[in-house]
């Protein structure tokens, strides 16, 4: 297998030493992967388009230690098995962080529910919900062997009931419930839900075809959030839902038991 890159050592734990980030070829995923690689975390990034992924990851890590590409479709069981093998071979089977970032918006322009092709609805639920859980299941043993932390990227559309966003929103609210249930069932996986807020990305543009989205910030605006989140002990935010661009990143009360709930 490929030799360990001679990158910089990451900060001490709880900062992750080994991470997997899905949807790493552009947008928010690329931003997270670049942050991790620059900080010295060995990171595997995924996306379907292999050439685009390789190109994007080559530029990460400030030239010292770039993230490593494992191209594939997260809805493909073969790809998930391969990821598991790569984690075993490259990370010695110990994974500290899994970021469930890749997702699909569904058709663009966004159709109203009664105009929605049932196939498209099923596809959105598969990519954003059921197959996300399958990926968690594939990597759970490695997460248990490492520090174990799962970050699921959700959206305000999970709660918004926005016209056109029904299928996507349903998949994301389902994802949130799964993550919160996982936090109760498998506390040592330390699952966390993050709403990144509106970002100027391809997906956001697809939601507003032909409109300018220049007033939305670039994904870099969330860097301080990820820096903070990855530096927290994994149990600090377990089961929480945090808005990266919100007014406050709140943690459970010191006195209160670990309350798993949406905020």
């Amino acid at each position: 297998m490929s030799a360990a890159p001679s990158g910089a050592a990451p900060p001490p734990a709880p900062w992750p030493r080994h991470a997997v980030v899905t949807g790493a070829s552009r947008g928010l995923g690329l931003e997270i992967v670049d942050l991790l690689a620059t900080a010295g975390t060995r990171t595997l990034g995924t996306a379907r388009n292999a050439a685009a992924l390789e190109r994007a990851l080559a530029g990460t890590g400030g030239g010292e230690s770039s993230a490593e590409a494992v191209a594939g479709d997260l809805t493909d069981a073969g790809h998930r098995r391969r990821l598991r093998r790569e984690v075993r071979d490259r990370f010695g089977g110990a994974l500290d962080l899994l970021v469930l970032n890749a997702s699909t918006l569904g058709p663009s322009p966004l159709p109203a529910l009664l105009d929605l092709d049932p196939e498209d609805f099923t596809a959105a639920l598969r990519t954003n919900l059921t197959e996300q859980l399958a990926l968690v299941a594939a990597l759970a043993p490695a997460l248990r062997a490492g520090q174990g932390r799962i970050v699921a990227v959700s959206s305000d559309a999970a709660h918004g009931a926005y016209p056109g966003w029904g299928a996507y929103g349903a998949s994301k609210i389902g994802l949130e419930l799964i993550i919160r249930t996982l936090a109760a069932e498998e506390p040592e996986l330390h699952p966390l839900i993050v709403d990144p807020g509106d970002l100027r990305t391809e997906m956001h543009q697809a939601a507003f075809p032909g409109e300018s989205i220049d007033d939305r910030p670039l994904p870099a605006v969330t860097r301080p959030f990820w820096t903070w989140a990855f530096a927290q002990p994994p149990e600090a935010a377990r089961g929480r839902r945090i808005r990266a661009q919100g007014d406050a990143w709140t943690l459970p009360d010191r006195a209160a038991p670990d309350a798993a709930g949406a905020s």
């Binding site: 001490p12 860097r223 007014d247 406050a248 709140t250 009360d253 010191r254």
Partner: protein, 366 residues
Amino acid sequence: MSGVAARSYRPPGPPSGAAALAAATEPPEARGTPADGVRLQVVGDDGIATGTMRDLPEALRAGDLLVANRSAVRKAALDAEVVAGPHAGERRLLHLAQRYGAGVWLVELRPDEATPGPCRLPLGTRLTVHGRILRLWGTYPGLPRLRFAGADDDLASIAEREGRIVRYGHLPRAFGPEAYRTVFGDRPGSAEMASAGRPFTPDLLRRLRQHGVDVATVTLDAGLSGLDAPDDDAELVVPEEPFEVDAAAAAAVHAALARGRRVVAIGTGAARALESAWADQRLRPVRGWTRKVLRPGTASGLLSGIVTGLHGPEATHLRLLASLVGSDRVAAAYRAAVAARLRSHEFGDVQLLWRPRGPGARGALR
């Protein structure tokens, strides 16, 4: 996102007097004045009066609740030297602005106390700090002066042992940690002193209590004060800060508000902590990190007033005050402060600013 609307907000012009204030260049004790002997400007509906901090009880009523910041200053300034690359051997003054977690810091690197930068060191640069390695690996979005950095060990204890308290160019010499103590500060965490608490002495607190004034505490660990605030705050960025409002503080504030009493923040940190914990018309016990920027139109109205030091034309400070008491009142206060030759900055004089009374004042100030 709320951020979109907020981004298009234009601030009121900063009070023109702000730049004309002279900075206090040493602690009051160094000029023979006790901590509570600094001057106090009281600004309310009845006009502006200037006395000393010892007059504070007379400006308050029995039942008023003061809310102070428990965060104490930590040593955050260290000497650093670049290890390798084109800048090898260059020395920098390292300011540890905020600790995000073990070995993960937001830092500022400057040539010296009086010169904010620019930092000029590329990402990936390694510096030695008292034998430890610090590596720069990120720029704070919108604030290139601030860098994220990782250390091979937690620098907090090294800073406590070897570091100094952050000092800027307006102070010609350094002062020991005792100059930066406040009676409220029992949780080290701030890169800069919560200076509004400095003029409170045990004796003044005793007199306030006799007068029927209560004191509650919250926590906000201040980073470095903003020097980057642009004239037009379209791009105003304020880095997040750790804060906590515990159950006791929330209960004290609720009890005061339920009885129609006034709640007064001691310092902008306490105000920011309170405003960050306020949701659905109540104060929630909460801890976390706040990113809330207070600007006109955003304050909840829970605060009736604020005790604060005076500062230079730092837009963030004045904007926060304007959000609490209105920009007209802030402008009038600063004009009077210049006329009365009040002194600014951490060792200077203080103001007690009251929110204007009257219909719709609560939360409706623009």
